[in-house]
Amino acid sequence: MEGAQPISPEELWSEIEKYHDTLPESLRKELYSKILEYGLTREEALAVISEAVKRYLSSLVNPGEAVGTVAAQSIGEPATQMTLRTFHFAGVRELNVTLGLPRLIEVVDLRREPSTPMMEIHLEPEIAKDEEAALRIAREIELTTVENLCRSATIDYYESAVILELDPEMMENRGVTLDDLLRALEKVKGKKGSVEVSEDGSTVIIRLGTDDVIKLRRAYERILNQRVKGLKGVRHAIVKPIRNDKGELVEYVILTEGSNFQGVLSIPGVDPTRTRTNNIQEIYEVLGIEAARAAIIEEIKKVLDEHGLDVDYRHIMLVADAMTYTGKVRQVGRHGVAGEKESVLARASFEVTVKNLVEAALFGEEDPLRGVIENIIIGNRPIPLGTGSVKLKLRVASGAPKRGGA
């Protein structure tokens, strides 16, 4: 080689920017960094860029492409595979997380509460490596009820009282003082009730001032379920160190069983930008529609990756967009995307046939027959996708075209 100089970063960037409107940003950036990394000359760089442009343009989708159907197939097909492969987890896991087909169905169904709700809580950078702080926050958010703190709890029918025998170890463990407990009990004892503590502080007696056995029992339940501290819904929280490949500590994260996103985000020390939950509905309510879309994509991807199933990101994005493009999250199914179509026939042919037809008649609906299934039902014309979406027709020399477009 005649010792050609590598292209300068400025020149390269200006060359690449010539295709600003052609190439997507990610590709332009990749070209920039890779060409610099390998130190290509000007000539070589231009060759790479022009080849990249050529390949990019030839990889674009065709107009009319039925991308929805392809996306549905690309997720539906591996989902059936998922059932055929049995998985054995012998590994040690602290928390069970529903993955696999049930989780996938849960995500597209948009269940209000996932079967295993969980959060992954990251801490502010200053305290991220502080195990003490992590444990403290974990204790703070973990829901502690009166029941959790008692060795035993009995109803004394004669005295009309509930007797709690406290477990000092658990109290210590959960960071609850006797005062905390008494404050919590104030809320449930009722107007006539009173709370007594034994001298050594190991027993608490709550007198309820009623003789009614049924009321007594109900009060007993209420007392045991009374929240002493923590967040509603967070059943369990553990602290887990995250280490990099070399085994160095990166940070501590808190994993929880149960989810209370809103509550956790307002706790000091929690990094709200990296903390996440697997409850999509909650994300939508707290962070809004774009976050919900991102969460749907992430959750679907997680399930598929777990099973080693390779599905292009674009398909998952399309599903997420279908669920969110109206600005609200809608489930995939009759109470969501499929049930809110304009077409009567499309809805009737999916589910709840009779109801859809009856309402269509009552409200005098009109079906404009623009979708796929409507045109299949009508028959004798192409569906408005792919080659069927072309509305132009060549006028043959002799006479007018015989068939009109769809």
Binding site: V61, S74, G76, L101, D321
Partner: protein, 883 residues
């Protein structure tokens, strides 16, 4: 073919009594069906005026014969009105929302005005929201106890499902008759209906209370004549007879002035029959039954569900020009081809227009007739007349009458395009276009490489074949659906068609360093792969000219191809580069020559990205990909034939010392488990966070045993070695895994149910062979034997338990995933890429501004990326050295 009218939309509404009468051709007067001679009674449900259904009979109304007569409606005048059961809940809403006296919506006039303006705006933009507003209006109006318009006091109205209405008056609960209901509905003015979301032109509310019942034509309720000559009527006819009888009796009793109690009863009966005529699954009332006790299938039931009118008859259509038979493999066919049995080729036809250029060929086909392949079954003359060649005596003479412009429906022939499909059709590669090769014998033949997209095997699988008829359909099939166009899957942007099983084994053996060939076998192999051209320079000159397997492969690679990759047999860790790689795992192709490395699943396998095959398809196109599959891949099989390749019991036998090692590993694991159990029993076991001690013990035992199996597997792998055929298959990715081999050679391992050791069965023990609460490995489903030594009876049982769980799981979850797929498909089916690059649905709403944010088609991408910049740059750098 001409299409005269295009349906641009369908408007839904409720039929008014007038419309029903106008639509009908006659009134049904009697419940009699046939007279003594078996002729339809005029004025009965089978009246000839309702349409001709017997073949040959001319319809008295339209003059058509059975095939073309669409059938004609009749009607029944009901003696008293009845509620249409499907509308009952909506009637209830209307009654609640409107005044019982003046019929106005019970909202103050100003509010009413406001709502109606809002409604108008919503109707244009967001019809779904209009529905919500209507709900709110009804809720608000129903609350009023006094009509804001006429100040009449209002009562609570209650609907008792399915169709009985009550009003809570001061005097007590009063039942509302359909007559009263209808009167009230009549009073609602048109303007107020708009506020309630109804379109008064299409659906006046009083039409929901039936005074006239339409009678469907016999065409949709045909009677069938049994072999005994007995007539059996359709469920709907039975129901209509019931309605007519009830109606008749009610009418007679009204005319006779019977006591109101009797009339009420009969009225109720009529209501019941009409209700079940519409829907026989209404909650709260007994389903009408056939004499045999089977519930009748009435109107709603005919529409509903998978086999109903919508899903079964309208969305799912039956087709002609299709065939189905068993499939079998044929490696000598191209991946683009399908072998079609002669018998099928003689039945499936393709219309071919006669032109001056093909007239001689078509004359020959016609004179061959329908029984001799290749022949023809029909001739269609320009006037539309069809000549059935089965009934032509002198075929030659008919052949001579052919003129340009005639159409010949000729047999399927080599080179025709057909669609080939295997269910379940889970992705678009489940239906692909193939080029026909008519072959003897009775099965469809297909290249083994396309079994992957079809998910087919040859244990009795059947597949369907469709012959597209129009030129458009054939052209589309050929350019869009041909197998080679689907080598790249849109699911992940890598070839889904590619090497499997023996192809991979063959590729591996052929490219291994010990594969060398003399001139005759080299030529033999290349010939089998349809290569014609010069042999490359032999790699070995002494003791004579010899060619390596890698050289033979190189013959098929493009001259300018460069590729670097790692074979599946390459060691997971450890050194693997240009200088040295264990098992020859470093693949290097330079300028179209395979210099280093063996080809296995990571080079020619299907469903993998970054392989040699993937690179070929991406860079050189699908046509090149197909060509390689039709040539090089055949070479792999040919070599495997030449080499010989079997697997037997011997392949999984390990020497005595290996067995001793394995036994020791198992013993050691059992000892460890014993210790764990002992420490658990002593209460010393520390529980893991969030788990009980018992769960912790189980986890630890499981991991000790899993570890033991892994180590025993490694021992077996070591003793079996890379020349063992079973190991070759597992390591190259051809078939089976090292786990399978472990289970055959060393031990089967822990059996599980729901991810846990097997514990259910008897109290505290899975089988009576063990002591209660015995936690040892063998009492909880650990199988220490291998498949080749054989399982102990208890082990066999545990293995069966685990196997059954697998079967049940599959059965349960295929249904689940099938339903999820259906819903996804339904939600997404109308999305397409518009010409402006956005993704839109059929309503024209934008789902994405650019498909996938970069507009790239995954099936044209390199594993999701439009351009693999790294590869591109590296190649440029590599070319530097070559100059």
């Amino acid at each position: 073919m001409a299409q005269y009218k295009v349906i641009s939309g369908i408007k839904f509404g409720i039929l008014s009594p007038d419309t029903i009468r106008k639509l009908a051709v006659m009134r049904i007067e009697t419940s009699e069906l046939y007279d003594e001679q078996g002729f339809p009674v005029p004025g009965g449900l089978m009246d000839r005026r309702l349409g001709s259904i017997e073949p040959g009979a001319v319809c008295q109304t339209c003059g058509n014969r059975a095939a073309t007569c669409p059938g004609h409606f009749g009607y029944i005048d009901l003696a008293r009105p009845v509620i249409h059961p499907e509308f009952a809940p909506y009637i209830a809403n209307l009654l609640k929302a409107t005044c019982r006296n003046c019929g106005r919506v019970k909202l103050p006039p100003d509010k009413l005005e406001q709502v109606s303006r809002r409604m108008e705006r919503l109707a244009k933009r967001w019809p779904a929201l209009k529905r919500k507003l209507v709900q709110a209006v009804i809720r608000e109006a129903a609350k009023q106890t006094v009509c804001p318009h006429c100040k009449t006091p209002q009562y609570k109205i209650r609907l008792e499902k399915p169709y009985t209405f009550y009003e809570q008056r001061e005097v007590g609960v009063v039942k509302l008759t359909p007559l009263e209901i209808r009167e009230r509905l009549e009073r609602i003015p048109d303007s107020d209906l708009l506020v309630l979301g109804l379109d008064p032109k299409e659906s006046r509310p009083e039409w929901m209370v039936l005074t006239v019942l339409p009678v469907v034509p016999p065409a949709v309720r045909p009677s069938i004549t049994l072999e005994s000559g007995e007539r059996s009527e359709d469920d709907l006819t039975h129901k209509l007879v019931d309605i007519l009888r009830a109606n008749q009796r009610l009418k007679e009793n009204i005319e006779a002035g019977s006591p109101s109690l009797v009339i009420e009863d009969l009225w109720n009966l009529l209501q019941y029959h009409v209700a079940t005529y519409f829907d026989n699954e209404l909650p709260g009332i007994a389903a009408a039954r056939h004499r045999s006790g089977r519930p009748l299938r009435t109107l709603a039931q005919r529409l509903k569900g998978k086999e109903g009118r919508f899903r079964g008859s309208l969305a799912g259509k039956r087709v002609d020009f299709s065939a189905r038979t068993v499939i079998s493999p044929d490696p000598n066919l191209s991946v683009n081809e399908v072998g079609v049995p002669v018998e099928i080729a003689k039945v499936l036809t393709v219309p071919e227009k006669v032109t001056p250029w093909n007239i001689e060929k078509l004359k020959q086909l016609v004179s061959n007739g329908p029984d001799k392949w290749p022949g023809a079954n029909y001739i269609i003359k320009p006037d539309g007349a069809r000549v059935d060649l089965r009934y032509v005596k002198h075929l030659d003479e008919v052949a001579e009458t052919l003129r340009p412009g005639y159409i010949v429906e000729r047999h399927l022939m080599d080179g025709d395009i057909v669609l080939f499909n295997r269910q379940p059709s889970l992705h678009r590669m489940s239906i692909m276009a193939h080029i026909v090769r008519v072959l003897p014998y009775k099965t469809f033949r297909l290249n083994l490489l396309v079994t992957i997209p079809y998910n087919a095997d040859f244990d009795g699988d059947e597949m369907n074949l469709h012959a597209p008829q129009s030129e458009e359909a054939q052209a589309e099939a050929r350019t869009l659906m041909l197998v080679q166009e689907h080598i790249m899957t849109p699911r992940y942007g890598a070839p889904i068609i590619g090497g499997l099983h023996d192809y991979i084994t063959g590729a591996y053996l052929l490219t291994r360093k010990d594969a060398i060939f003399d001139k005759s076998s080299a030529a033999q192999l290349l010939y089998a792969a349809s290569y014609s051209g010069p042999l490359p320079e032999p790699a070995i000159l002494k003791p004579g000219p010899y060619w390596t397997g890698k050289q033979l492969v190189s013959v098929f690679l493009p001259n300018d191809m460069d590729f670097v990759g790692k074979a599946a047999v390459a060691p997971a860790g450890g050194k693997c580069d240009e200088e040295y790689c264990e098992n020859d795992g470093y693949i290097l192709v330079k300028k179209g020559r395979l210099l280093l490395g063996v080809l296995d699943k990571n080079a020619v396998g299907a469903e993998k990205h970054g392989t040699l095959l993937h690179e070929l398809v991406v860079v050189y196109g699908v046509e090149k990909g197909r060509e390689i599959m039709d040539t090089l891949f055949k070479l792999f099989l040919m070599y495997l034939d030449m080499h010989g390749f079997t697997m037997g019991v011997d392949s999984v036998q390990v020497p005595e010392e290996a067995r001793r090692e394995i036994r020791e590993i198992i013993e050691e694991a059992k000892r460890k488990v014993e210790e764990l159990i002992a420490s658990y029993a002593r209460g010393e076991l520390v529980p893991m966070p969030g788990k009980t001690r018992r769960e912790t013990l189980e986890d630890l035992i499981m991991s000790v045993l899993a570890d033991a199996r892994t180590r025993a597997g490694e021992v077996a792998g070591r003793y079996l070695g890379m020349f063992n055929h079973a190991v070759i298959m597992a390591r190259t990715g051809a078939r089976g895994s090292m786990l399978n081999l472990t289970q055959m050679a060393s031990l089967v391992g822990q059996q599980s149910v729901r991810g846990k050791r097997i514990e259910r069965g008897y109290t505290g023990r899975p089988l009576p062979h063990f002591k209660p609460s015995d936690l040892s490995p063998e009492a909880r489903g650990f199988v220490a034997s291998s498949f080749s030594t054989g399982l102990a009876p208890t082990e066999f049982f545990f293995h069966a338990v685990s196997g059954r769980e697998g079967l049940v799981d599959t059965a349960v979850r295929t249904a689940q995933s099938g339903y999820m797929y259906r819903r996804l498909q339904n939600a997404l089916q109308d999305f397409y890429v518009a010409y402006d690059g956005t993704v839109r649905n059929s309503e024209g709403m934008v789902i994405q501004f650019r498909y996938g944010e970069d507009g790239v088609d995954p099936s044209r991408s390199d594993h999701g990326k439009p351009v693999n910049v790294e590869k591109l740059v590296k190649r440029i750098v590599a070319l530097r050295g070559v100059g």
